[in-house]
């Protein structure tokens, strides 16, 4: 085992994902402790420019090149990554906890027969152990998982868990022209599909009233819609509301929906899971109404009411009307 820390860089359509800069920051901090190198690993084709843009961020930029790696393909990615990890034996390999890592990191760990912890908000190395903090049950409970790192291991870190900092390194790009022994043609990438523009762009709204699963029934949506209109706010929601088909995609706030930064965000019956918070925690004023005093939403909200929203909404609507 070397003492190096690998950070797997995610790039798409010519752009490095924010989370990759965050895991690089974490990798630099860890390799400082282990005395190893920070290695940024890029898989792709036509990614020379991206590789060069990371020279201050890592001691080495390992650019694994093949046209088969131009788009995410779990079989080619597994072959390439397992081959370089096998050969160079990093102490730890870090991914961002994103859709791409869901696709490749767990099967890579199984393939290499090394341990993996995903969905972490933080982790550290303590002797021969990696100890990671993982939010459970939608953020209502914290946990600590660990594994022995003697034979390497994989960690995936949630976006926004670490603040990205600029690096002071002067790394060099090592380009590897990778060859595959066989074709994996039982799967083929066909293309990206951008979300269709909806009738409303919630990212432009100054005030948002957002509704979650606490609304219980589709027919109750009318109640919050009416409330939103009465205060001149745009109606948005958490993912389960879109999954149920009660509101269209374009209204969803969160990591797989829109990121919003309104002056006012009122969350009604939303628990505050990490993926939801990712889309709204930078709003200027956040208000939460939830009947569970322990709902994680209260840790980002500025003001809150612990109560049944069906009692609060009519009262609040009336009080606001009286005050206008």
């Amino acid at each position: 085992m070397s003492k190096d820390i690998f950070a797997i860089i995610e790039h798409r359509q010519g752009k490095i994902q924010d989370v990759s800069l965050e895991i690089l920051t974490k990798a630099r901090q860890l390799s400082g402790e282990t005395g190893g190198q920070t290695v940024a690993v890029i898989l792709g084709s036509d990614a020379d420019e991206i590789a060069r843009s990371l020279t201050t961020a890592a001691d080495k930029i390992l650019y694994v090149e093949n046209e088969k790696l131009a788009h995410l393909h779990s079989d080619y990615y597994r072959e390439a990554l397992s081959s370089i990890i096998d050969e160079r034996k990093p102490l730890l390999t870090i991914f961002g906890h994103t859709s791409a890592s869901f696709e490749i990191a767990p099967s890579l760990a199984a393939h290499l027969d090394i341990p993996i912890i995903t969905n972490c908000v933080d982790f550290h190395i303590d002797g021969e152990k990696v100890i990671a903090k993982v939010p459970l049950y939608g953020g209502k409970i914290d946990s600590e998982y660990s594994f022995d790192v003697q034979n390497g291991g994989i960690i995936s870190l949630l976006q926004g868990a670490v603040k990205a900092e600029d690096g002071q390194k002067s790394g060099e790009v090592e380009k590897i022209s990778f060859t595959f022994d066989k074709d994996f043609d039982s799967k083929e990438f066909l293309g990206f599909i951008e979300a269709a523009a909806g009738e409303i762009d919630i990212t432009q709204a100054e005030k948002i009233v957002s509704v979650g699963r606490g609304i219980k029934d589709e027919e109750n949506i009318a109640l919050v819609k009416d409330f939103a209109e009465s205060i001149g706010a745009v109606l948005a929601c958490s993912r389960p509301i879109v999954d149920a088909g009660w509101l269209p995609n374009e209204r969803q706030v969160g990591s797989s929906g829109k990121t919003v930064k309104p002056k006012l965000y009122i969350a009604l019956g939303i628990s505050g899971a990490f993926q939801h918070l990712a889309g709204m925690k930078n709003a200027d004023t956040i208000i939460a109404v939830n009947k569970d005093p322990n709902a994680p939403i209260f840790s980002v909200a500025h003001y809150g009411i612990v109560e049944d929203m069906f009692k609060v909404i009519p009262a609040l609507k009336q009080k606001i009307e009286e005050m206008k």
Binding site: T118, K187, D243
Partner: protein, 254 residues
């Protein structure tokens, strides 16, 4: 065309007050209601849709305690053909890799075209078991599926979710593992007739499986640190609404 659906029994925690058990590693189960993991419900629906189109079996498989049978019955009531429950001795100590190995050992014995799992379990949100399972079965996989179309018996076109509303489309041949993200379809409810029929269907129980080693250990669980919390307006709904309205006015937000 045969499908296998991997399901997990999870506690409903969104509205519950959670208490940590004395061992510091799990929740006090007393006041918790358990149900089928949300994403698995969508995975099951996708398998049932394939069954309607091409015939064949839908086989449910779960690594879980005996109480899992209640949840398995529900999936049988919706139309699944049969079920397997794997209950090894040290069931609380399995990591995702061990769960995937246990599932793979059983699935290898079956005749299947597609293995469905949920994209993530609502308790740990690891998103690991599906893609590990594909590795162990040595078949291709797609995770985070949100759409499956131009269905044929040998292959499918499948759309997977990325971030911020972006998706990517792939073509994939069967046999394969597909992990299903919430919202992919509209899960059905069980019919009365289905519920009656389910009681006659068989759940195979496996208690003597070889348990693979778990490399990842859960050391402890804890309540989140208090940190900065919202200022809470208390009182009757009218009183708290009054205080909130005043605050909004003061901040020029209404």
């Amino acid at each position: 065309m045969n499908s296998i659906v991997c399901i997990k029994r999870v506690p409903e925690t969104a509205e519950a007050t959670l208490k940590i058990a004395p061992d510091g590693k799990k929740l006090e189960a007393e006041n918790l209601v358990f149900s089928l993991n949300d994403a698995d419900n969508y995975a099951l629906e996708q398998a049932l849709l394939l069954q309607e189109e091409f015939d064949g079996d839908v086989i449910i498989i779960s690594v879980g305690p005996s109480e899992t049978d209640e949840i398995i019955r529900m999936t049988l009531a919706k139309g699944a053909t049969s079920a397997i429950r794997i209950t090894p001795e040290n069931i609380d100590e399995l990591d995702a890799n061990a769960v995937a190995s246990l599932l793979a050992e059983q699935i290898k014995e079956l005749d299947y075209d597609v293995v469905f799992t949920g994209a993530f379990a609502s308790d740990d949100a690891f998103s690991q078991v599906g893609s590990m399972l594909a590795e162990k079965l040595e078949i291709p996989h797609i995770t985070m599926a949100v759409e499956m179309n131009s269905q044929e018996e040998e292959e499918t076109e499948i759309t997977r979710e990325l971030e911020g509303g972006l998706t990517a489309k792939y073509r994939m041949k069967f046999p394969a593992v597909i992990t299903v993200q919430t919202g992919m379809n509209e899960p059905r409810y069980a019919s009365i007739l289905g519920i009656k029929r389910a009681s006659q269907k068989e759940i195979e129980i496996i208690e003597d499986a070889d348990v693979p080693e778990s490399k990842v250990v859960l050391d402890k669980i804890s309540y989140p640190a208090e940190g900065e919390r919202a200022e809470i307006f208390s009182g009757t709904p009218e009183e708290s609404a009054q205080k909130l309205a005043e605050k909004l006015k003061e901040k020029g937000l209404i």
